[in-house]
């Protein structure tokens, strides 16, 4: 793999990674959000795969394959199962912040991410670190999604995006975490999603919906 192709793949993956996060903010269909999460997982997996092939590092390629299977296939499938079948469940009710404002906030967060990560890039300017702002922006956007959505599944998507962002930052800054660390982190996320899926099922069976704002009203 030549330098130019490596640069191109890395930039494209980082761009698609950030774009998927932005589209999650934009869309309100829960199923569409879960599908976007799968695309984001694919973009995330492309980063260690490209680095592994470029540096001839078998462990990094193995990490890439694990990330691909887990974040692009397994987790979105699990989340898709947790999405309810009723019409009001499949669509996010009006978010706490309206979509136009959310998109403008996302723009501000992206610029903030670029501003904050400048010292990190200045330490070691390379094609990989240059893409760090995109990964950092996804972390900020994910936190915003988690606080601004009402449905349990969309909040779970926010959590997964947060984890994707952290993983992408790690891949880009350190060009590859040890396999055992990545496996541990991935297993944690997998269990978190399994528990979330179970919880969502129980919530639906007990209260008939997963709108977290209404649950607070029921309890109070």
């Amino acid at each position: 793999m030549t330098q130019a192709i490596y640069n191109g793949v890395l930039n494209l993956a980082a761009g698609a990674f950030l774009l998927a996060a932005v589209l999650v903010v934009w869309r309100r269909e829960v199923r569409a959000i879960v599908r976007l999460l799968a695309w984001q997982g694919l973009a995330l997996a492309a980063i260690p795969l490209a680095e592994g092939i470029y540096q001839d590092d078998a462990a990094l390629i193995a990490v890439g394959v694990v990330v691909l299977l887990l974040r692009a296939v397994a987790l979105p499938l699990l989340l898709a199962r947790a999405v309810g079948t009723e019409a009001h469940e499949r669509r996010e009710s009006t978010p706490l912040v309206n979509t136009t404002t959310s998109l403008l906030i996302t723009a501000a967060l992206t610029v903030l991410a670029y501003a904050v990560t400048r010292p990190v890039i200045a330490l070691d300017p390379s094609p990989a670190t240059r893409a760090v702002p995109a990964a950092f922006a996804v972390i900020l956007i994910a936190v915003f999604v988690m606080v601004s959505r009402r449905q349990a599944v969309s909040q779970a998507v926010g959590f997964m995006m947060l984890d994707n962002g952290i993983a992408a930052t790690a891949f880009l800054i350190t060009s590859g975490v040890p396999l055992i660390v990545e496996l541990g982190a991935s297993l944690d996320v997998l269990f978190a999603v399994l528990v979330l899926g179970l919880l969502t099922g129980h919530m639906r069976a007990t209260f008939g919906g997963t709108d977290l704002d209404q649950l607070r009203e029921l309890r109070g």
């Binding site: 761009g15 774009l19 932005v22 934009w26 136009t100 996302t106 723009a107 992206t110 094609p127 240059r130």
Partner: protein
């Protein structure tokens, strides 16, 4: 400014005349594509020209109580659009006006036309005119910064805000056209051009239902030659914006800064083909979508603004000095 060759002046004149003559044909072609896809016979490609001829022969009518703003607005819209047609690098790169007006000039001229029509809509004092103007300015306020940002993203690799320099840089180095910044800018620019020219899903160009229309509501009081001028100008705006988009992202075939007669001919044929293909694709796409609710339009435009911003950040920060 160096002395401009005769041929580049000829190319620019041809550009302006081609936009003047061709714009109604582009609109006619789009209506025809749509009609065929919807199973109708359609009025034919020449129908907009026949409409224009009919309206131009009608009597000039000025509604009671309107001022000079109402009378001058169509001329301002048509004039700014023709000036844009002369500035943009459509057939050749070296327009004689090019050094004087860059990207900011073009967006300013576009906005000047929009504002003139908006004021004319207010000038009539009718409910529909005011409503249309209010809607149009809401959309324009989000569209203009997005066009600026999207083309700004494309100007980073070319290191210049001059449109001819951007197109030339893209033609020299086609690899940069598939970068994330360029792709995001393409999507953002496509959305704002659709909004700016009042096509679906932002505005329905064929409706006369007062609850949904935007552009049509503003020009409701116009009749006869002035209406002809307004419609002609809106067709020309669509044509030049499609041409701009075609040359920014598919810069091949455009004649150089000092073109030969053959280069001008090739440039003319190529840009006509590009505009026709883009217009056909736009019309075919419109068949499958419904108009967006007006209150969701700012959502779409804020999204496209965000895409343009991402395009700028991507092309500015990802730009690696190695390639």
């Amino acid at each position: 400014m160096s002395a401009m060759s005769v041929m580049s002046v000829v190319a620019t004149l041809l550009q302006v005349v081609a936009v003047l003559v061709g714009a109604p044909l582009v609109v006619g072609g789009m209506r025809q594509v749509r009609a065929r896809l919807e199973g109708r016979a359609g009025g034919g490609v020449g129908q907009p020209w026949r409409d224009l001829r009919k309206q131009l022969r009608k009597q000039q009518i000025t509604p009671l109580g309107t001022t000079v703003v109402f009378a001058l607005a169509p001329a301002v819209v048509a004039g700014t659009t023709l000036l844009i047609a002369a500035i943009l690098p459509l057939i050749s790169l070296g327009s004689p006006l090019d050094p004087a007006a860059d990207l900011f000039g073009v967006v300013g001229l576009l906005f000047l036309g929009t504002v003139a029509l908006t004021l004319a809509g207010l000038d009539t004092g009718t409910a529909f005119g005011g409503m249309g103007s209010s809607r149009e300015i809401t959309i324009a306020a989000l569209v203009e910064p997005t066009i600026l940002l999207a083309v700004f993203a494309l100007s980073v690799p070319g290191q210049s805000a001059n449109l001819a320099a951007i197109v030339a840089a893209a033609a020299d180095n086609p690899g940069q056209l598939v970068s994330p910044g360029s792709l995001l800018a393409f999507v953002a620019l496509a959305i704002v051009i659709i909004a700016e020219t009042g096509r679906l899903p932002v505005d329905n160009p064929s409706t006369h239902l007062e609850l949904t229309m935007i552009h049509e509501a503003m020009v409701l009081e116009y009749a006869g030659p002035r209406l002809a001028l307004v419609e002609w100008a809106s067709a020309m705006r669509l044509t030049v914006l499609l041409g701009l988009m075609a040359n920014l992202f598919l810069p091949w075939g455009i004649a150089g800064a000092d073109p030969s007669p053959l280069g001008i001919l090739i440039g003319f044929v190529v840009i006509s083909l590009k505009i026709l293909v883009l217009a056909g694709a736009l019309a075919a796409g419109e068949v499958f979508i419904a108009k967006l609710r007006y209150f969701r339009v700012p959502e779409l435009l804020a999204g496209s603004f965000l895409l343009a911003l991402l395009a700028v950040t991507a092309s500015y920060f990802f730009a690696t000095p190695t390639n």
